[in-house]
């Protein structure tokens, strides 16, 4: 219990750090870039919306920095992120909400697939040291981990989208489709998701395999595995219940940790495939100097990673008795 409370405290602290970064960054830059942005949109914004943005970015206010900060924290706590300048006059919250399901659908499925497939290959590779899987998979995955995510996406577009014309490679669905729960629409969405999903899968699977393999190699040398063999337990039981169960713990924490990296990869994959998710939206916001939208998306991504870490902590507490007994 204490372990989880401590982790929850860490959650709040990190969230606060991310909000503070959002607040400080534009103010730290030479010539406050937000000022230039506000200048560009001069005349379009009036009244409440203008005032709101001015307090968020500290433009035209005569408040002290501390007062501005206090205001800012209040705005963030109440979900008041301001008005999107690119998707004017939609409030930022509404724009973000439209992007979330796309990313969650694509990225959620791929992350889970990559974790299970990658960990599985790692288990087999360590179990049959020097076997076919073990001599091919690790070196291959070391090399694929060095390839930029987005470039894999570009090559997929080139080969499967443009040359072979097997699958659509731009957007989340055809423009002619209208969102509805029909087989036709769902099929269309799935078709559009296949190429980005594959590109993401290929580039993220390696990390799981390599860490799992190396953990598993260490675990297989433990005395309790030897003991299990001496007892004459079946190989599959030893492999899964004795070795893999213990070796997967660091991978669970790593799973949450590297979500941060995978989210980064997903941003570029979405960008390359014009996939209308959170990452694509973030880069759109950057390109159009829509700083309120950018700040909200950065916060959203941070919260997503933090939630994942918290979940992994809970899972670790369930699987690893040692964390439960430490007081």
């Amino acid at each position: 219990m204490r372990f989880l409370l401590r982790r929850a405290g860490f959650f709040v602290l990190t969230l606060w750090a991310a909000v503070t970064l959002n607040f400080l960054l534009p103010r730290m830059m030479p010539g406050n870039p937000a000022l230039a942005m506000m200048g560009k949109f001069h005349g379009r914004l009036t009244g409440q919306a203008l005032q709101n943005l001015e307090t968020i970015f500290g433009v035209n206010t005569h408040e002290s920095l501390l007062g501005q900060y206090w205001h800012y924290l209040g705005d963030m706590a109440t979900g008041n992120f301001g008005t999107s300048l690119f998707f004017f006059p939609s409030p930022v919250g509404q724009v973000v909400r439209a992007a979330i399901p796309w990313t969650l659908g694509l990225f959620g499925v791929v992350t889970i697939l990559a974790f299970f497939l990658g960990t599985g290959v790692g288990v087999i590779s360590a179990w049959r040291r020097g076997g076919v899987v073990d001599s091919v998979a690790p070196p291959l995955l070391v090399i694929t981990s060095a390839i930029p995510y987005f470039w894999v996406g570009m090559m997929f577009i080139l080969i499967f989208g443009l040359k072979l014309q097997w699958l659509p490679w731009s957007g989340g669905m055809d423009i002619t489709e209208t969102p509805a729960w029909t087989g036709d629409f769902i099929g269309n969405v799935v078709q559009h998701a296949i190429l980005p999903a594959l590109a993401l899968l290929i580039t993220t699977i390696g990390t799981w395999t390599l860490t799992m393999r190396n953990n598993m190699v260490t675990t297989l040398a433990e005395d309790y595995v030897r003991m299990a063999r001496a007892k004459g337990l079946s190989s599959s039981r030893i492999m899964l219940d004795y070795a893999a169960r213990n070796a997967v713990l660091p991978n669970l924490t790593g799973f949450a940790m590297s979500l941060g990296f995978v989210v980064g990869g997903a941003i570029l994959i979405e960008y390359v495939f014009n996939y209308p998710g959170v990452g694509y939206m973030l880069l759109q916001a950057v390109e159009n100097e829509d700083y309120p939208l950018m700040q909200a998306l950065f916060l959203l991504i941070t919260v997503a990673v933090l939630v994942a870490i918290l979940l992994a902590d809970i899972a670790t507490a369930i699987f690893d008795p040692r964390t439960r007994t430490t007081r």
């Binding site: 860490f10 602290l13 990190t14 750090a17 991310a18 970064l21 959002n22 960054l25 534009p26 830059m29 870039p33 040291r129 020097g130 690790p138 070196p139 070391v142 090399i143 981990s145 060095a146 390839i147 930029p148 995510y149 987005f150 470039w151 570009m154 090559m155 577009i157 080139l158 443009l162 390599l210 190396n214 190699v217 260490t218 297989l220 040398a221 030897r226 063999r229 940790m257 979500l259 941060g260 990296f261 989210v263 980064g264 990869g265 941003i267 570029l268 960008y271 973030l282 880069l283 950057v286 390109e287 100097e289 700083y291 950018m294 700040q295 998306l297 950065f298 991504i301 941070t302 990673v305």
Partner: protein, 298 residues
């Protein structure tokens, strides 16, 4: 010398070292390999491959091969600059936390953890968005200050294990300052971990910097692989059939990254004998069948 021997004895390390060496040579003397000025927009646009232009020309009429060769320099500057700086920063923070203990450790460790979980690439995007057209120096600085946390955590736990060792107690009794003990007594014992950390950091710095440049957050006038990809994307190189413009810089990044990754993987094997390939152990004098039986049990 021992390091060279270890690299030569490991196939992955040899491959990685050769790749890296080839790119270092390209970065030092690009003029030997490409005769064109990489920025001069003097040729017809979007030429195909030919003997005059090995990899064709870009949408702006520059020689693609010359760009790829000259682009090596900035990528390596970032890889070594940010890679070394963030590893050094990580070493200072991680080891200081472990060595000082108590309050200082609690604060530094918490700080490290917070930086560690804030998603790195989105943060880089946000910072780069405010900066506009980040050049080499800005990229190195940003990558350094955001990319040290993972290494710091690794080094801290390594240093914690060292804390109660006699040679450190001896240094303390001699009355050495904490900064001296950290820099001269502790850090040298962790050299293999530092090298591995540097290789990982350098790999990520290459990927992150190229990614930022690709989405247009770098300096669009710089000569680098990420910028080449940016222009290829702008030029719709894939859709219009000029895909060499996109393949070349991406492949270059992947090759350099593979160099760092292979070296790193090999260093893991050298540092942790349990991970070495099994083939090696067969050289022992035991009969092969017996060995294998034993191995399958171990």
């Amino acid at each position: 010398m021992r390091l060279l021997k270890a690299i030569a004895g490991n196939a992955k390390a040899t491959a990685g070292a050769l790749l890296l060496l080839a790119f270092i040579v390209l970065a030092l003397v690009p003029g030997l390999f490409a005769r064109d000025d990489p920025t001069a927009q003097t040729y017809p646009r979007n030429l195909g491959t030919s003997t005059a232009h090995l990899l064709g020309t870009t949408g702006l009429g520059q020689d693609t091969f010359a760009q790829a060769v000259y682009g090596t320099r900035q990528v390596l500057e970032i890889a070594f600059g940010a890679g070394l700086a963030s590893t050094l920063l990580a070493a200072l923070i991680g080891v200081a936390a472990a060595y000082l203990g108590g309050w200082a450790d609690a604060v530094l460790n918490l700080f490290t953890d917070v930086v560690l979980v804030i998603p790195l690439f989105p943060l880089l995007i946000v910072i780069a968005a405010y900066v506009h057209n980040s050049g080499t120096g800005v990229l190195i600085a940003v990558l350094t200050f955001t990319g040290w946390s993972y290494t710091a955590r690794q080094l801290r736990s390594q240093a914690l294990a060292l804390r109660s060792r006699d040679f450190l107690a001896a240094a303390r009794v001699r009355g050495e300052r904490a900064s001296y003990i950290i820099a001269v007594e502790i850090l040298p014992t962790m050299s293999s971990l530092l090298v591995a950390a540097f290789l990982t950091n350098a790999l990520y710095d290459v990927l992150f910097a190229s990614s930022l440049q690709f989405v247009g957050l770098g300096d669009p006038n710089s000569t680098s692989w990420g910028t080449m990809l940016y222009w290829a994307q702008n030029n719709e190189a894939l859709q219009t059939g000029y895909y060499v413009q996109a393949i070349v810089p991406g492949a270059a990044i992947a090759l350099l990254g593979a160099g760092f990754a292979l070296l790193n993987y090999a260093f893991d094997e050298i540092g942790n004998p349990a991970l070495r390939p099994l083939r090696r152990r067969r050289r022992l004098a035991l009969p092969r069948r017996l060995r294998q039986e034993e191995l399958s049990r171990a």
